[in-house]
Structures are given as structure tokens and as C-alpha cells.
């Protein structure tokens, strides 16, 4: 059900007041509030769109997750942070 958790996170970052502002400083705490596996949380922290797509996240929700964080749609596959 982790895809559900990531999709909910993306939606909440857009629509829950204050969540996006808290995201940079409280990312781990926020991630802990969703049913997201450790590997998926790591992929989110590393901006690994390819990994998340392969894991089954809907590409539309994935686009939202990146764009709401200020990463342009065209750049979302070019910003992965290597481990």
C-alpha cells in the first residue's frame, strides 16, 4: 500500500495548510506519518523519480510530488541525489 502513501503525501503537500512549509526541516517526521517503506522514503529523500516510477507510483502523482517541491517537470529525472 506504499504507493497509496506516496500519493497521499503528494496531495497533502499541495493541500494541507502549512505542510509544505514544514517539509524541508521536518521531512523525516512527516514521512513517518504515512505508510511508506524505508526504501521508498529513501527514494523520496534522494529525489529518485525513476525508482519511484518503477515502484509503481502513478506518474501524475509523481509529477505533483516533484513540482510541489519546486522541481520543474522537465527536470524531475535529472535531480537524483546519489547515495
Amino acid at each position: 500500500m506504499t504507493v497509496v502513501g506516496i500519493t497521499a503525501l503528494a496531495r497533502d503537500l499541495e493541500h494541507v495548510p502549512g505542510l509544505l512549509e514544514r517539509w524541508p526541516a521536518e521531512r523525516d517526521d512527516i514521512l513517518g506519518g504515512y505508510p511508506i517503506s524505508a526504501a521508498e522514503a529513501d527514494a523520496i529523500r534522494r529525489n529518485d523519480a525513476a525508482w519511484l516510477l518503477a515502484a509503481g507510483v502513478n506518474p501524475v502523482a509523481l509529477r505533483n510530488l516533484f513540482v510541489i517541491q519546486g522541481i520543474a517537470h522537465k527536470d524531475m529525472y535529472d535531480v537524483r541525489i546519489e547515495p
Partner: protein, 275 residues
């Protein structure tokens, strides 16, 4: 007795209103098409317009994701997501209630929402075609991005049923249908930014010839491969085509809009019925 007097389709990317002059050589052609369509909608003197669009995880999430959903609000607010248009438009709850009953009676178990908000798939056309926004709006959501999707055939048949349901409207007698989405584009995947002009032109050529069976035979996997996941939105166009009785399309314009990362089509299905 109600009847559908205008049925049309347009792409809905928010860049249409966010970045309208991205490529003046091409947008001039599109602007002329939208101006023509807007004038036709105004001349049609619609009592209500069914806007057939989708959603991009703004209104619906995986907690509850319908195949079809009709909006019964008295008013509809836009999300304004990512800079998309954010306006408020009037609904037509009494007409929508009649349509819901008619579609359900025809075997289409359409969900309903009394609190629906609308993303750019509805709001962009409503802003670009202000005569539509000035009409009472009945939004019809179609799942275009969260498989399994209702088939294109099912969507065409839904349009046919919509035309029958409109006939049961007692007072709101002149109804329009405006589908939104497509044509080729890739959303949230590495191929974002590409446009398949050949696919787009073939699609529009088939519509202009009234060859809907050819389009309805395309598997989603084939559409996804050749025209992107965004082209799965073309099932909204099939609703409008079905509502127009399968009449051939008059293609007003097509442009491959690479700055907007999508092929843009503007078409009317069948003739406009004068007021």
C-alpha cells in the same frame, strides 16, 4: 425536452492560459480556433454545458477514485494548482440530478459529488472559452490516468447515453458538451516534452472522417506507447463524439506545441444547432 446542440473538444494544458504566447507562429492558429469556438458557444445560447474532463490527483485520491463522477454543486471552485486558473463557475444541480438519474438508468453507475472542485482540465477550457464559463456548468469527471480506465468504447457509449439523458431535462433544453484533454503528451515520465505529430494528425483525420470505430479499437497500451499517458485523456473526446451521435468532426486547428509539451487539438463534433 432537452437536446444537445453543441459538442466539441479541446486540449486543456494549463500553459494555454499561463504562457499563451509561447510560440506565436503556432498559437495564432490556436487562438483563432478558440475564438471561433467561443463565438459558436455564445451563439448556441446554452442553458447548461457538460464539461467532460479528468483530474490530476487534486480532487480525487486513492482513498476513493471513481471511473466517472458527475458534479452536482451549485458552484464550482478551481484548485489553482501550480498556477492553473482559479475561478468560480455556476453549476446546474437540478439538471445534473436529472442527468445522473438518466445515466444510472441507462446502466452507467456514475458517481456523484456535491462538493467537487475542479483542476486545470476543467478550468483551462473554462477560462479560454469564456462563453462556456458564463453558462451553467455540469462537470463530468472521467478517470483517464489511474488504471484500469473505462474503455474508450465505454466512454463513447456514455456520450450516447448522455444525449438520451439530456432529453429528459424538462426546462434546461439547450445543452452543450465540451470534452477536454490530449492530444499526445507524456506526464511525469522521462519522455515528458515530446509530441507525436503523426499520431495527433491521424487521430484528428479519423475524427474528421467520422471513423470512430477505428479510434475506439486502439488499445490503451498502444496509445500510451505512441502518444503518451496524457493521450489516454482522448476518451473524454469519445464522450463528446458519442453525445453528438458519432457525427464527423470539424477540426478547427492542430498544432504541435512543444513549448507546452503537448499536441493541441480543437474540434467540433457535428454541426452547431442555431438558437
Amino acid at each position: 425536452m432537452g437536446r444537445i446542440v453543441y459538442s466539441a473538444a479541446t486540449s486543456h494544458v494549463a500553459a494555454i492560459v499561463k504562457n499563451p504566447n509561447a510560440d506565436p507562429a503556432r498559437t495564432a492558429n490556436l487562438d483563432a480556433a478558440w475564438t471561433r469556438m467561443d463565438a459558436e458557444i455564445a451563439a448556441a445560447e446554452l442553458d447548461a454545458v457538460v464539461v467532460v474532463g479528468t483530474d490530476h490527483y487534486e480532487t480525487f485520491g486513492l482513498d476513493n477514485y471513481p471511473a466517472f463522477c458527475l458534479g452536482l454543486n451549485a458552484e464550482f471552485d478551481g484548485w489553482g494548482e501550480f498556477g492553473a486558473p482559479r475561478i468560480r463557475v455556476d453549476g446546474a444541480p437540478e439538471a445534473a440530478t436529472v442527468l445522473l438519474a438518466g445515466l444510472t438508468g441507462a446502466g452507467f453507475d456514475v458517481s456523484r459529488s456535491h462538493t467537487m472542485r475542479l483542476d486545470h482540465s476543467f478550468m483551462t477550457p473554462l477560462v479560454r472559452l469564456p462563453s462556456t464559463a458564463a453558462t451553467k456548468v455540469v462537470p463530468l469527471f472521467v478517470n483517464c490516468n489511474t488504471p484500469p480506465l473505462p474503455s474508450s468504447r465505454r466512454c463513447f457509449d456514455l456520450g450516447t447515453a448522455l444525449a438520451s439523458a439530456v432529453a429528459a431535462l424538462p426546462a434546461t433544453d439547450r445543452v452543450g458538451v465540451l470534452a477536454t484533454g490530449g492530444i499526445s503528451h507524456w506526464v511525469g515520465v522521462p519522455r515528458f516534452g515530446d509530441v507525436n505529430e503523426d499520431f495527433d494528425r491521424d487521430f484528428l483525420r479519423l475524427l474528421a472522417a467520422g471513423r470512430y470505430d477505428d479510434v475506439l479499437a486502439w488499445p490503451d497500451a498502444w496509445i500510451n506507447e505512441h502518444a503518451g499517458n496524457g493521450a489516454l485523456e482522448l476518451r473524454t473526446w469519445m464522450v463528446a463524439a458519442g453525445a453528438a451521435g458519432g457525427a464527423a468532426a470539424d477540426v478547427f486547428a492542430y498544432e504541435p506545441m512543444y513549448p507546452w509539451a503537448t499536441g493541441i487539438g480543437v474540434s467540433r463534433f457535428g454541426a452547431a444547432v442555431p438558437a
